[in-house]
């Protein structure tokens, strides 16, 4: 199963490198939204709750672009049929798609988080960076697990670009709450990891539940 997932992931990364369809669009979207917030809020710098909310809502909205395109090549070029004809465990497709989305989110955040720090954030990111990286890691796992599931659900529908946000965003509300709450104390002027363990615990639980749920149901999503 892992070898198949690696083959699919390798193919997906190769396609993304060649087409540059998802990561540049997601990155540009986050940067644009940060600039819009910069002018829309008419404030030079944010901190605490507001900064945390802006950071995570923007990342979640950017993930819609990646999720919408996750099965693009499979849908448009018959990749799903190719997979169904091969003697592979279908769960390997979910593993590959979730891993691909996770890597895309990491690539976006490598640009988006420093840009957020420069454009909007009052306090420096430096001191809280290790804790913030942990929150980003667990948040990305949750988004990737749910995103790959939703992308597969929407792949064969005509209005997939409408269905993806309608399904994805409500499912990601717990991720948003946990990530924003865990990040909020890290972005205060007097930064400190307040209640971090509690929110990371909730986020980890969410990740485990959705990984297990996805593994359990993914096979049935590809049924005729």
């Amino acid at each position: 199963m892992i070898a198949t997932a690696r083959a699919i992931l390798h193919k997906d990364l190769l396609l993304e490198l060649r087409t540059k369809e998802s990561v540049p669009a997601m990155t540009l979207f986050t940067l644009t939204v940060y600039v819009l917030f910069h002018f829309g809020l008419d404030r030079d710098s944010l901190d605490g709750e507001l900064a945390s909310g802006v950071l995570w809502v923007t990342l979640l909205l950017a993930s819609i672009i990646g999720v919408s395109r996750l099965f693009g090549a499979e849908r448009e070029q018959g990749g799903i049929l190719g997979l169904l004809l091969a003697p592979v465990d279908r769960t390997s497709l979910w593993i590959a798609k979730a891993a691909g989305l996770f890597l895309m989110l990491v690539a976006v955040e490598l640009v988006a988080v420093p840009a957020f720090g420069l454009l909007l954030l009052g306090p420096s990111l430096g001191g809280a960076l290790p804790e913030l990286l942990l929150v980003l890691l667990l948040g990305n796992v949750g988004i990737a697990a749910v995103g790959a599931l939703v992308a597969a659900l929407a792949a064969e529908t005509r209005a997939h670009e409408l269905i993806v946000p309608l399904l994805l965003l409500p499912l990601l509300v717990p991720v948003l709450i946990s990530c924003a709450q865990a990040t909020e104390p890290l972005l205060r002027q007097d930064a400190g990891p307040e209640d971090l363990g509690r929110w990371l615990g909730l986020l980890s639980l969410y990740d485990v539940v959705f990984v297990l749920l996805s593994v359990a149901v993914f096979d049935f999503l590809l049924e005729d």
Binding site: K11, Q77, G78, L81, G82, A86
Partner: protein
Amino acid sequence: MAAIELDVLERRYGERVALAGVSVRVERGQTLAVLGANGAGKTTLLQVLAGLLRPHGGRAVVLGAELPAERWKLPGRVGYLGHEPLLYRELSARENLRYHARLHGVEGARVEVVLAAVGMERRADDPVRELSRGMVQRVAVARAVLHEPELLLLDEPRANLDPAGAEQLEPLIGKPSGRTRVLVSHDVRGAQAEADIVLRLEQGRPAPEGQEAYA
């Protein structure tokens, strides 16, 4: 044991009947030609035989697998060449075939063998989007036979090929391949000439005896 046994097979899309009352028995090594006008149900029949669509009525046994219950027995044993080449346009022919080889657990060396067999060694590293339709069809044939399937399901396999190209692919997908084949074609004479059994479909149902499928 027959390679394919269909007994009053039925398949619907919602309320619309795509296949009904289709019965046929194909022994191993035989070729079944499926003829019919556009929309007759030929492609649907191929997809049911490949295990991609589940039958809604009747009985369908393919390579000993009772469909749909034993559909899991089919992947890796069927070579499917449909209207779409099932190739990624941004990848080269070689990259596409290597990817499918990994999915099927086939050695990488086999990729070079099939590339040579379809005459695509020289253009193997070009992206599929840069290939002509005939070349794409050759690569699609290579993909379909890469894993040496027991059953070949071929929908217009010679479409877009010049006569020399079609001849070159004969050992892979023609009668000389020795494989059980289901061949969908609009070339009635050609299909009849290479078929052991002919099934004529008319709006999803077997055409009455003596009636031409294209009448």
